[in-house]
């Protein structure tokens, strides 16, 4: 079956003729010798290793540090594409925050029958503990990583809303650094929006959401589980670039509902914590008592309004894949207009008709656990064995509430350097969206993940995917090159 995938550079022309505006990059890909591209790519990866831009692979031997493969051919967004994407993201993330405020508050959306109450109240991501507690400035998801895919010229679809502790922003920044150094000619050809505003934007957001009683120059920190965590590089990179302390739980102490950090000069009061620790490990007094990663008393300080937690506890519910399927309704409910960014068509297996459809079409569908992530716990029908399909059939029947199904998408491709020159490989995209209660900011760029194996649709780094730089062109830099 010869599927016609949309290519970000060649459109549907299969490498013959670039999309309008993409002539220069097409020429660059054609004319830069493959050996030269490979040399630059190796040099980027060597630099990443030297810098220690690594992630740890769980379940492997201790200390297994790997770099994520980097691909030298960038993905490009035109200014128009970006303008409509970022509008859609703003609308979606605003609605998502209103939804969270509502479900932990008045629950109007449930009362109005838009989202079924059991889906919210029985959801494993729902945290009754924070019920009725409005976080400072009403924001739960200060930082969202919205996973998107593209299936055609105007078809951007949201695949997943990551509203807990989305990672990957360090790759957005480091990939750009590598490209600026190794392919400077690209930045002479294209006027590209800078991504290095992100650390400033993050700091401004953190300061803006400090508790009202905090001083004008609030003390902001980043809380990491420690250097064995898979995303530790990102934690230290961000703390460094934002200019805040990188703390571990042992560096914090809560006294009289106030959070302090232990410094060489004694205690210093902490106002805002960007925590990269999951809810359940945050505070052993209220969540998992066996957690060594958390800070006893942290939640009490949070409830007393003495500290802002980024992202706020309880936001995980919007991460849930079953809630995801209601996002078009949720956006419409709060924004009063249709969602600008559509969802991928989703069958909720909790609904009998959808379950039947899913069971009848397993070989064509992607089935996901509602609480799975990282490419684990999913079935990709077309590339699975009969045995795997039967396993999922049994699991689905036993627990239909635990699954959703989606069509296998014709993910767009981007030329990617392989042993045999540049070939089309499927990509997805994760932009990072910041909310401070007054404004929503999406730094122009994001993380493009690429499936390095031919035909593969799985882009997760834990499953062998790589990354690319994502260039967003400035509005005045479009080059129609009408002679092409």
């Amino acid at each position: 079956m010869a599927k016609r995938y949309f290519d970000e550079i060649w459109g549907h022309s299969r490498g013959r003729k670039p999309r309008p505006g993409f002539e220069s990059i097409a020429r660059w890909i054609r004319e830069t010798p493959k050996k030269e591209l490979a040399r630059r790519q190796d040099s980027a990866e060597a630099a990443f290793r030297q810098l220690g831009i690594t992630f740890n692979v769980y379940g492997e031997e201790e200390e297994a540090e790997r770099i994520i493969p980097f691909d030298i051919v960038p993905r490009i967004f035109t200014a128009d594409e970006w303008a409509s994407l970022s509008e859609g993201l703003e609308q979606r993330v605003t609605a998502l925050n209103m939804f969270l405020e509502d479900v932990y508050g008045d629950r109007k959306i449930i009362a109005d029958g838009v989202v079924p109450d059991d889906l919210v109240l029985c959801n494993p991501g729902f945290t009754p503990l924070v019920n009725g507690h409005r976080p400072p400035h009403g924001i739960y998801a200060h930082i969202c990583g919205i996973d998107m895919v593209r299936t055609g010229p105007d078809e951007f679809l949201v695949l997943e809303d990551n509203a807990r502790t989305p990672s990957g922003v360090s790759y957005m920044l480091e990939n750009r650094e590598a490209m600026l150094r190794l392919c400077p000619e690209l930045f002479e050809t294209f006027e590209v929006e800078p991504v290095d505003r992100y650390p400033d934007a993050l700091r401004e957001m953190m300061q803006a959401v400090a508790p009202e009683a905090a001083p004008g120059d609030p003390c902001c920190v980043l809380l990491t589980p420690g250097h064995f965590n898979s995303a530790f590089y990102e934690h230290s990179f961000l703390a460094d670039n934002v200019g805040i302390e990188l703390v571990e739980a042992a560096d914090l102490v809560v006294d009289d509902d106030i959070v302090w950090m232990r410094t060489i000069e004694g205690r210093r009061r902490v106002d805002v914590i960007y925590r990269r620790i999951d809810d359940e490990f945050l505070d052993p007094l209220v969540f998992r008592p066996d957690s060594m990663l958390g800070v006893p008393g942290l939640m009490a300080a949070y409830f007393a309004g003495n500290v802002t937690l980024i992202n706020a506890p309880g936001g995980g519910i919007s991460d849930d894949k079953a809630i995801y399927s209601y996002m078009p309704e949720i956006v419409k409910y709060y924004a009063g207009e249709e969602a600008k960014l559509p969802n991928v068509e989703t069958w909720r297996c909790r609904e009998p008709d959808a379950l039947q459809y899913t069971l009848d079409n397993l070989a064509e569908l992607v089935v996901k656990k509602v609480d799975g992530s990282g490419g684990y716990g999913m079935l990709v029908g077309p590339t699975s064995t009969g045995e795997e399909i039967e396993e999922f059939r049994a699991a689905l029947k036993a627990n239909p509430d635990g699954y959703i199904a989606q069509p296998t998408l014709a993910l767009s491709t981007v030329p990617t350097l392989t042993d045999k020159g540049t070939k089309s490989r499927h990509v997805d995209f994760r932009p990072f969206v910041l909310s401070d209660g007054n404004k929503v900011t999406t730094v122009p760029g994001g993380l493009t993940r690429v499936a390095l194996r031919e035909g593969s649709l799985v882009v997760n780094s834990s499953q062998g995917g790589g990354t690319k730089d994502s260039l967003v062109l400035r509005p005045d830099s479009e080059q129609p090159e009408s002679q092409a």
């Binding site: 290793r49 030297q50 810098l51 220690g52 420690g226 250097h227 530790f232 230290s236 703390a239 460094d240 302390e245 990188l246 703390v247 571990e248 042992a250 560096d251 950090m261 232990r262 410094t263 060489i264 000069e265 004694g266």
Partner: protein
């Protein structure tokens, strides 16, 4: 600054210095072994183990103290807490955890030093060993260079403080062991073997030419000891590192507003060494002097930990 960060930086300084010292020690021992009029052989390697405080751990392995066994143990062994590998491993893990407090160059030089040794397990030929050690020492020079470009903030001072405390300890142990152990029975003081061995000591602290500058006449144990303990012109001498430690603590006090027991101990030590001559040291017993000094240095390190709330 976080107390944990300060502690990690201090220990990065100590472990990087220890790794370099051990590398120099092995290099100098190889040289002694190769160049001696009569090879000092096992004696030289056994004293290297003592200097590196690794004699006991090495004996636990049950291996015979051949040059390559000892060189491997000091360089790669996971069972030797002070092997170059373990020093670099710990320094790198600490650096990784506090890389926000290090410069990019500082982190990269530690990471490169670690990548240079990670995965290797035997030094190989004498030439191979020397190449590896030279590469490690060069990385360490890169690290020191990176240190000197840091902002003169707390991070810099804690790294330097660790380096300085470790240097004091290393130099004191080097003199103590070499002075009392190295001369094989039947060899005369001032003889060829004796001279070679004092040359090795200078090699370890990279002070061969320094000696020629400071003393126009011949190599003698008394002068070497004097230079290594009292001559402030030599940056690795005990007196110079003692001064440095006191100055770093003073600067930290200025930056943080904190002074305490560690400052008092460091200054007292400085005053004492100022008032001491080589004659008194030797008359009173060099070994006793050095042992007391090593113990005092350990107590000072503990006082630093308490003063800056390392735990």
């Amino acid at each position: 600054m976080l107390a944990r960060t300060a502690s990690y930086l201090y220990w990065i300084g100590r472990y990087m210095e220890r790794a370099e010292f051990t590398a120099r020690l092995i290099e100098a021992t190889l040289r002694l072994d190769a160049l001696s009029a009569r090879p000092a052989g096992e004696g030289a390697w056994s004293s290297a183990l003592s200097v590196a405080a690794a004699k006991h751990d090495f004996e636990q392995t049950g291996e015979s103290p051949t040059p390559s066994n000892v060189a491997n143990f000091l360089t790669f062994s996971k069972d030797n807490p002070n092997s170059i590998r373990n020093c670099l491993y710990t320094a790198r893990m600490n650096a990784r955890a506090v890389r926000t407090a290090l410069t990019r160059e500082g982190w990269e030089s530690i990471n490169r030093a670690w990548l240079g040794i990670d995965g290797r397990s035997a030094v190989g030929s004498a030439q191979g060993t020397i190449n590896l050690l030279e590469a490690l020492i060069a990385e360490n020079r890169g690290f020191e260079g990176a240190l000197h470009r840091m902002l003169r903030q707390e991070s810099y001072h804690f790294l330097m403080l660790g380096e300085s405390i470790e240097r004091t300890d290393n130099t004191a142990r080097l003199i103590d062991v070499k002075y009392h152990i190295i001369l094989p029975e039947g060899e005369e003081v001032g003889g060829l073997v004796d001279r070679d061995q004092w040359g090795t000591i200078l090699q370890t602290v990279s002070a061969n030419t320094a000696f020629r500058w400071l003393y126009r006449d011949g190599l003698s144990s008394r002068r070497v000891v004097e230079m290594l303990i009292l001559r402030r012109e030599l940056p690795r001498s005990i007196a110079a590192t003692v001064d440095e430690t006191a100055a770093l603590l003073t600067e930290l006090g200025r930056l943080t507003g904190y002074q305490g027991e560690a400052d008092r101990m460091a200054r007292l030590r400085q005053q004492r060494i100022n008032a001491t001559g080589i004659r008194e040291i030797i008359t009173g017993g060099l070994h006793e002097y050095l042992q007391a000094f090593i113990e005092e240095n350990r107590l000072l390190s503990q006082a630093i930990s308490r003063q800056f709330r390392f735990d």
